[in-house]
Symmetry: C2
Subunit: 218 residues, 2 copies
Amino acid sequence: MMSLKLYGYWRSSATYRVRIALNLKGLEYEYVPVHLVKDGGEQHQAAYDSLNPSHLVPTFVDDDEDIILNQSLSIIEYLDERYPEPYSLMPAHAVERARVRGLAQDIACDIQPLANLRVLQSLSNQYELSSDQTNGWCKHWIEKGFDGIERRLQTQAGRFCFDFDVTMADICLVPQVYNAKRFGVDMTRYPLILRIYDNCQALEAFQQAEPENQPDAQ
Amino acid sequence: MMSLKLYGYWRSSATYRVRIALNLKGLEYEYVPVHLVKDGGEQHQAAYDSLNPSHLVPTFVDDDEDIILNQSLSIIEYLDERYPEPYSLMPAHAVERARVRGLAQDIACDIQPLANLRVLQSLSNQYELSSDQTNGWCKHWIEKGFDGIERRLQTQAGRFCFDFDVTMADICLVPQVYNAKRFGVDMTRYPLILRIYDNCQALEAFQQAEPENQPDAQ
């Protein structure tokens, strides 16, 4: 029995982020799929509700320490504080840390929540948007977000978002690029984002976290 | 000339959060209004674009230290690390810190981004939703979010979200309750949230940060 468990969904980009962080830390964990669509969504069922009353993924559990945490960025910072080896995912200086958090939140607050499954379901079911319209909606917010991020990266990027260290910012960027490609965003508009994405994808921790490599991938 | 500047908008709840944090830390700052509606939005003009290429508020500037930061939660954690007095806005223990960040992100990632001005403008301009429909949209996501938060608070709340200390979670909760009231959410459904809101509102730092008390209030 493994003590660390990650409840999530293969294509949830918040779950994808935590998988990358766990892999970068070299932590073994049990991946517990929560199917967000089947039977009206397993995230609404009693078993999951008791872990996460918000009915969102991911949820991180450490059985040995009786810890249940939600919110991907919060989980990633917890993992980084609790398991500092082999290297930190956050810079040592407060201003640089703020920039990493800022970029992570540019994605986790201002892009991803607008284009996730429950929002798209609501737009099509309650407001009768066509699938062309919901795809356009996603593309619009991803492009708006990437326009700002590409410019921010011009002053601070190296091999990764912040110089030559993999940080929480890269952990958020890669799943968002995966989504951008899915929604047909023209990534040639974002050469810096794409270069960092490619540099991350060269690392095994990122490859193994990809949605298509999960047991619940369809 | 004051070194610290906060660029924001009176009714932006992300700006409201940073005002509360600055007040709790007892920091003097210059408040620079960025009108999000007038002339197509001052956030898109060249002067602001050079500070924040995402064209969102708030932006925090420290002229003396040549620091420009965006994203409210990132700014708040920076302020807390840089100015630990008179007390910390984050708990000392990693698990508790993760819970505070998680609750803050329940609001800053899963509620507020869905109901902010640019999203409502897009829903009404591009997708022709009526104002009744956009109000219903806001109410729906606030209620969904508060349903989960009210349950989470049952295991951890005291006078404030986490026991008897004001944390970043309260700083996010209060502006979200302000918005909920604006959109007609029935707050009697959320007795714990309401109690914490009232306890925060008894503090001068929260009162002075209220939208109606800002120079750009309309």
